[in-house]
């Protein structure tokens, strides 16, 4: 980015020949340090920030005999105007520099005595100054000083903390992340008051310089995974990041797989519980979606509400979700396989009703299934972006047209409607898995239309080979799922009561695996 600014100025020098008096004196080296002359500095900054009407320059002077000329630069709208007026301009204009001894530097005097702000840095690096201005800070330049002050005055408007729409809960905290990184981090921090919680900032995106923050708990996190993540983040070379989803795709394992190997959530409580399991969270500026990693397959089925409700209810929910996964992927494929390949496996009354329902339907069953599945996806996608009332209207129209009219017009058979509806609704049990489910459903359907149930079974085998071979940051994606060990089943197929979950997931955090410190209770079991 710095280079870009430099290049631009150089280009200007060559092409436009304006501001000659300034630029001609600037050597390559000096150009990026501030000058003694306030005017020159101002001109330099104005050149850099020209054609940007959001940027405001404001000159003023200190009081007293030896009044010093100063000016500040800030970007309108990104700063807190009140703060600038009261904490910078007012003290500076009221201050007299007479009593300040000659020994102290003027800039230090400004920092220590005049300006009221909790965050001031001084620098002579023009690049840094420009970047700070553009990120909502205010810079103060003082006559005859080669160092300028960067004062934190960030104050752009932002959305308040509200309940995340995508992950609603009946029981549980209703806070959700917002689009700004700092308040998000605060939401995490306030839940873990522990010095071991570490935040590390990183900037991603050559042009956007998006602030991202790595959060982890020292001592719980697996250093290897952290190291791996750092390396992958450093490898990113992209000019802009607009959402954490882009980072996810850039660093995830098995990039071509439809399955997510990095999780995302809008809920601080989810992030905190993942941090406590030894995972790493990646907060990205500009998006409420926080990434958590490593991400295992089972996490698709672990809703945060499971942990707050009664454990039996939570366990049933989890089993239901697993069942929903099965239904959503398999129902169309199994239906097609049974109806067109293995008619002997359907009870006679059922096959008679299907037989009657399919009279006069023009399409083969497979085509019918594919059409209906696509129609369902269209309705879903169409309804999702529309504002509430219209969205529900779409739902009605869809239900009426697809359900009633299509059957009556002998366009599709009634059982197929039931199948598609079942598929679609069970889809919502695992809401984060829409993409993978859609892909799997169609693949299973196609393979079932080749070889019937055997084709479907081959599809399942293939799916599991794929799932078993994926890793998320070194961890097997299907960790724990093949195990019937009590310790591992506790938080996978069922949700055991909290007082039995004494240990963290083992492979994740190897340093400190005790979750509960109730005397020897936890240790005894190990």
């Amino acid at each position: 980015m710095f280079k870009n600014i430099k290049d631009r100025i150089m280009n200007k020098k060559r092409n436009e020949n304006i501001n000659e008096n300034i630029t001609e004196n600037i050597t390559e080296h000096e150009a990026w340090e501030l000058n003694q002359s306030l005017d020159k500095n101002k001109a330099l900054l104005q050149t850099i920030l020209d054609n940007d009407d959001m940027v405001t320059f404001r000159d003023f002077e200190t009081k007293g005999k030896a009044s010093l000329k100063c000016f500040i630069v800030c970007v309108n709208g990104m700063v807190n105007n009140e703060m600038i007026n009261e904490n910078i301009i007012q003290p500076v204009t009221n201050a007299s520099l007479d009593e300040i001894s000659k020994q102290t530097k003027i800039t230090d005097a400004f920092i220590n005595k005049i300006i009221v702000s909790n965050s001031i840095t001084k620098t002579s690096d023009v690049n840094q100054l420009v970047c700070s201005v553009l990120y909502g800070d205010t810079i103060l330049l003082i006559e005859n000083e080669t160092e300028a002050l960067i004062i934190d005055t960030k104050g752009w408007g932002m959305r308040g903390i509200s309940e995340p729409l995508a992950e609603r809960v009946v029981r549980g905290p209703r806070e959700g992340f917002t689009e700004s990184v700092m308040p998000n981090l605060a939401l995490i921090r306030k839940r873990i008051s522990n010095p071991d919680l570490k935040f590390q900032f990183k900037e991603i995106g050559v042009r956007t310089k998006t602030k991202t923050c790595l959060c982890y708990i020292n001592g719980l996190v697996n250093p290897k995974i952290l190291q791996e993540l750092m390396e992958r983040l450093d490898d990113i070379n992209i000019d802009g990041i607009t959402d954490s989803g882009m980072i996810e795709e850039l660093i995830k394992d098995a990039p071509l797989s439809p399955f997510a190997t990095i999780g995302n959530t809008e809920r601080p409580d989810v992030v905190v519980s993942k941090l406590l399991e030894g995972r790493i969270a990646l907060v990205c500026d500009g998006t409420p979606f926080v990434l958590t990693l490593p991400y295992l397959f089972i996490e698709y089925f672990q809703a945060n509400e499971d942990y707050y409700n009664n454990y039996i209810y939570g366990s049933i929910n989890r089993l239901l979700k697993g069942f929903g996964f099965f239904l959503s992927t398999s129902v169309p494929a199994v239906y097609v396989a049974l109806i067109t390949f293995h008619q002997e496996m359907i009870p006679t009354p059922l096959i008679l009703s299907v037989f009657a329902a399919r009279q006069g339907i023009p399409f083969p069953t497979v085509v019918e299934a594919v059409i209906m599945l696509i129609a369902f996806e269209i309705l879903r996608e169409g309804g999702i972006r529309l504002p509430g009332p219209i969205g529900s209207a779409i739902g009605f129209v869809g239900a009426l047209i697809i359900g009633q009219a299509a059957v009556e017009a002998k366009f599709v058979s009634a059982p197929m409607i039931i199948i598609v509806a079942l598929t679609g609704i069970s889809n919502f049990l695992v809401p984060k898995m829409f993409g993978p489910l859609l892909v799997m459903r169609l693949l299973f359907l196609i393979s079932a239309s080749f070889l019937g149930l055997f084709g479907y079974l081959f599809g399942v085998i293939g799916l599991f080979i794929h799932l078993m071979s994926i890793r998320s940051f070194g961890l097997p994606y299907m960790l724990h799922t093949g195990d019937l060990k009590m310790q591992d089943i506790k938080d996978t197929t069922i949700r055991a009561p909290w007082w039995t979950m004494k240990n963290r997931p083992k492979l994740l955090a190897n340093e400190d695996s005790n979750r509960q410190f109730t005397g020897n209770l936890g240790k005894k079991e190990r």
């Binding site: 008679l352 037989f355 009657a356 006069g360 019937g452």
Partner: protein
């Protein structure tokens, strides 16, 4: 990553390749087939041809959900030929996997080669299931049993299946799935039976009824048992699960008929062997309850109950003895499976008499012990009292 991508391409291309090369092989739309519910097989002696009558589901042609029966008749050199000819008649492939009943005519049952070819066809063909019920038609042809459903728009096969499943409460036939039939043919010494199906004319319509049994000697029909005899037969083989035992009250005062409902029955079969002679011992233990009393005698009395029990036991013993004697004398065919008991309990002896078991069976002595226990008397504790 790249590998996976390539793998996907390979998969898709191979799938496409496969698809283009040969289409979908076993892919069959259900509405392009005829669902065969039942089949009846006759044999025409003159032309030496097999006649197959198949009941299948009628297409309603657009109506809502209504399904009715349709019957088609085909001829062929053998069963499989007739089955293939079905396609010509109906224009569509037949779906045999939902066939419930297979009715054979007497003509077929009396011919060994016909019967065997039918059994072989059923078991060899992937589609036909091995638990099809097999029935023997008492009418002239087997086909007419199925044909009578057209008039009433009732699926005869389904009705017959429902009836067959209620064997336990009727006990006038012994339902046999085809695999059991084949098993019995294959077993040494034992012969199979098939329940018989009849056509009865009531005032309103013709109906199908199942009672009685066709007795086979291995693969050849040799005789019949009627409904009551079949019940006794069930007693012998220990498959009796219910049914009514009607006793003629022989008390001095005016007693009507007594109905005893059989609740539980247990038949133990043993072989007694002494000095080269085999005696088959049957220990029958039946639990009944009083279902109907036609007179005024209170059988709740202990002595009366005991008497009733003894009467019932006697009756059962007589009936069982009768049926065994009938089968032994008239049919010489071990449909009771005594051979299996002998084989299990006296394997050495069995080896010797295996060859001429039919003869041994005919002369086999039986020792029948019956014990009847009256457990309850349904809702009533006393007979209906007739006031003075």
């Amino acid at each position: 990553m790249k590998k996976l991508f390539l793998k996907m391409i390979v998969l898709i291309l191979i799938a496409a390749n496969v698809f283009m090369v040969s289409g979908c092989w076993n892919y069959r739309e259900i509405d392009e087939m005829e669902i065969i519910l039942g089949a009846a097989i006759d044999y025409d002696e003159k032309s030496n041809k097999v006649i197959l009558t198949a009941e299948y589901v009628k297409r309603s042609g657009g109506g809502e959900g209504e399904v009715g029966p349709e019957v088609v008749k085909t001829e062929g050199e053998n069963v499989f030929d007739a089955v293939r000819n079905l396609v010509i008649k109906t224009g569509r492939k037949a779906l045999w996997s939902h066939t419930k009943v297979l009715i054979i005519s007497e003509d077929v049952a009396r011919r060994k080669e016909q019967l065997i070819s039918i059994m072989d066809w059923v078991q060899r063909l992937t589609e036909t299931r091995d638990d099809i019920w097999i029935l023997l038609s008492k009418e002239k042809t087997a086909g007419e049993i199925l044909e009578m459903g057209i008039e009433a728009q009732k699926m005869v096969s389904m009705d017959l299946t429902d009836l067959l499943k209620n064997e336990g409460s009727i006990s006038k036939f012994h339902a046999v799935p085809i695999w059991q039939f084949i098993d019995r043919i294959a077993a040494d010494g034992i012969s199979p039976t098939i329940p018989t199906v009849h056509k009865t004319l009531t005032e309103y319509k013709t109906m199908s009824e199942i009672f009685g049994t066709g007795v086979f000697n291995k693969t050849k029909l040799v005789g019949w048992l009627n409904g009551a005899e079949t019940m006794s037969y069930l007693w012998v083989i220990g498959k009796l699960k219910g049914g009514i035992l009607v006793l003629q009250g022989n008390d001095s005062n005016e007693t009507g008929k007594m109905s005893l409902e059989i609740q539980k029955n247990r038949t133990k079969r043993k072989v007694n062997y002494s000095e080269g002679e085999i005696t088959m011992q049957l220990d029958i233990k039946t639990t009944v309850r009083i279902a109907e009393i036609g007179g005024e005698v209170n059988y709740m009395d202990e002595s009366a109950t005991e008497k009733l029990e003894n009467d019932a036991a006697e009756l059962i013993q007589k009936r069982v003895d009768d049926v065994i004697t009938k089968v032994q004398q008239a049919y010489h065919s071990d449909i009771f499976g005594f051979a299996g008991v002998v084989e299990r309990e006296l394997p050495d002896e069995w080896e010797k008499i295996k060859r001429d078991w039919d003869q041994v069976f005919t002369d086999l002595k039986t020792d029948i012990n019956v014990e009847v226990e009256i457990r309850e008397s349904a809702l009533k504790s006393k007979p209906i009292k007739v006031g003075e």
